[in-house]
């Protein structure tokens, strides 16, 4: 075939894995691979959870993007202006035009704290923080070090968010941190969520609600935050409830990258890209694919999801370029460690159809599922090494594939 142009927007988890896997898949004569990102800072996002508690330093979780890309991948440190779907072109802010045969949208999400009334007003980064950005995590660390007790409210404004378990992990770790500092008895910990339980999936939700109760963390459900007063220290919901706080940790609204909104026909109202849940092709145009947090798929916005998607994506791009039918199918497989403090963690594993179940992963002799253990905590810490050295380069991890394993799980019938 003639040399194809593959343009990948975003040099984060998804874009890097896709680029490296595609680079291995295609000979240099077969495809040119371009990655576009506006900066050269690749953040290991799960690491941000530990920064507020002084358990990780922000420099440890950031590395240069271009160094994670294989030789032969062209990196453009540029802002994307928009995509012209009719002409198969990406316009960059500096006026450069990148034509493509295949486009991969992997630009993740954008935090939108300004969409909640009052959140970025007085008190922002003084008594209201988010640990979802490197800068926010550092500032929150400083605030926690100054904290001497009071009301600490953790609120996720609305779904979807990246790593839906991270706010729970934060509140578990906060409980531990405050106990270590001997100010837990002077602190009320509150977890306010728009969901009707601790988590979205029934069995895991019950387990996690039990953990919150055990740790004396108040759970406030169906709380849709509408406005914040950072001076008076109150968080108000649309249905008229108010939560007072001395320190607010918010997970702000998430939307797609700004250029998605500037590219007619590409995204939905929130800037996410409609994507086929099995093939990862978009209905926008057959040569446009998407993966990771940038999609509208009904699964978690999480690195594990992106990793499993990347295998399917690369296979389907190869098929598309060879004029073959796309038959690689993603099943919604996701898994995540949930830090629960005191050197322990839970592990959950699920897909579109199967909710997180107890048992072991990836088989009967693996890590315990839905149960706190030290082994899972060690797994979570080891994962950072695996991320930089195996996942991003696109190496296979033995025993862990894109399809969710049922072996090792205990099937529990659920009344729907």
């Amino acid at each position: 075939m003639t040399r194809k142009q593959i343009v990948i927007l975003g040099g984060g988890t998804g874009g890097t894995m896709a680029a490296n896997r595609l680079r291995r898949r295609f000979h240099a004569d077969e495809a040119e691979i371009h990655v576009v990102d506006r900066d050269d800072r690749h953040v290991y996002q799960p690491g941000l959870l530990f920064v507020p508690f002084g358990l990780a330093h922000v420099e440890e979780v950031v590395r240069p993007r271009r160094r994670q890309l294989r030789d032969g991948v062209v990196f453009h440190e540029r802002e994307v202006d928009s995509i012209v779907l009719d002409r198969d072109e990406v316009l960059l802010h500096d006026g450069t035009v990148l034509p493509y045969d295949v486009l991969v949208v992997a630009s993740g999400v954008r935090l939108q704290p300004e969409e909640t009334e009052g959140l970025t007003g007085p008190g922002w980064n003084e008594r209201m923080f988010t640990f979802y950005s490197p800068q926010g995590a550092v500032l929150l660390n400083e605030a926690l070090e100054r904290f001497e007790g009071g009301r600490l409210v953790v609120n996720l404004v609305d779904m979807p968010i990246k790593c839906p378990v991270a706010p729970l992990e934060f509140v578990f770790l906060a409980d531990w941190y405050l106990r270590e500092r001997r100010i837990r008895s002077k602190t009320e910990l509150v977890y306010a969520t728009p969901l009707d339980g601790a988590f979205t999936k029934p069995i895991a939700s019950e387990h996690l609600a039990g953990l919150l109760a055990e740790k004396e963390i108040e759970l406030v459900t169906e709380f849709n935050a509408g406005e914040v007063d950072g001076v008076g220290g109150t968080l108000g919901s649309y249905d008229g409830r108010e939560l007072g706080f001395d320190l607010l940790v918010t997970i702000p609204l998430h939307g797609g990258a700004a250029y998605v909104g500037r590219s007619p026909g590409l995204g939905d109202a929130l800037g996410f890209v409609p994507t086929d849940k099995q093939t990862l092709q978009t209905p926008v145009k057959p040569n446009v694919f998407a993966l990771g947090d940038a999609t509208d798929l009904p699964t978690s916005k999480a690195g594990s999801v992106t990793h499993f998607e990347a295998e399917v994506l690369v296979e389907n791009i190869a098929r598309y370029l060879a004029d073959e039918e796309l038959d690689a199918a993603y099943d919604g497989h996701a898994n995540c460690f949930i830090e629960t403090g005191f050197h322990k963690a839970l592990l959950i594993d699920f897909n579109y159809e199967t909710e997180p179940l107890p048992g072991r992963f990836p088989s009967a002799f693996g890590l315990p599922l839905l149960r706190q253990s030290r082994l899972n905590h060690v797994g979570k810490l080891m994962f950072q090494w695996i991320y930089w050295h195996a996942l991003l380069p696109g190496r296979e991890i033995p025993g862990i594939g894109p399809t969710m394993p049922m072996r090792g799980k205990k099937a529990i019938p659920i009344d729907v």
């Binding site: 609305d158 979807p160 969901l195 649309y238 249905d239 109202a269 929130l270 009344d415 729907v416």
Partner: protein, 105 residues
């Protein structure tokens, strides 16, 4: 899932009273469910939201979240809460005869 009678029509509902088959729905059923949930009169604004939810579900297989409802239906989130006090997306879905919005994970 159980069969029940709403506005004299037999319909299949889940444990929380959401219709499981949108085809079984009609406007009388919508009014009856609304009344049962404390909304005695469905105004044009209510119908605008209910119809939007229903059409979106039938076209895409998923109901919009409150946030996209606020952005796309033309009814701001604050007003959505005035119209459907107990949780706009859920209540509008119930009245519109579509399954309970699952939300994202």
């Amino acid at each position: 899932m159980t069969m029940t009678l709403i506005a004299d029509a037999p319909v299949d509902v889940d444990a929380e009273g959401f219709l499981t088959d949108p085809e079984q729905w009609n406007e009388q059923i919508g009014r009856a469910i609304a009344a049962e949930n404390g909304i005695t009169e469905l105004t044009d604004r209510h119908w605008l939201v209910v119809t939007f939810m229903r059409e979106r579900y039938l076209a895409t297989g998923t109901a919009p979240s409150i946030r996209s409802l606020g952005k796309e239906s033309g009814v701001p989130v604050r007003e959505l809460y005035q119209l459907f006090p107990k949780g706009p997306a859920k209540l509008a879905a119930k009245i519109g005869g579509i399954p309970k919005p699952t939300g994202c994970i």
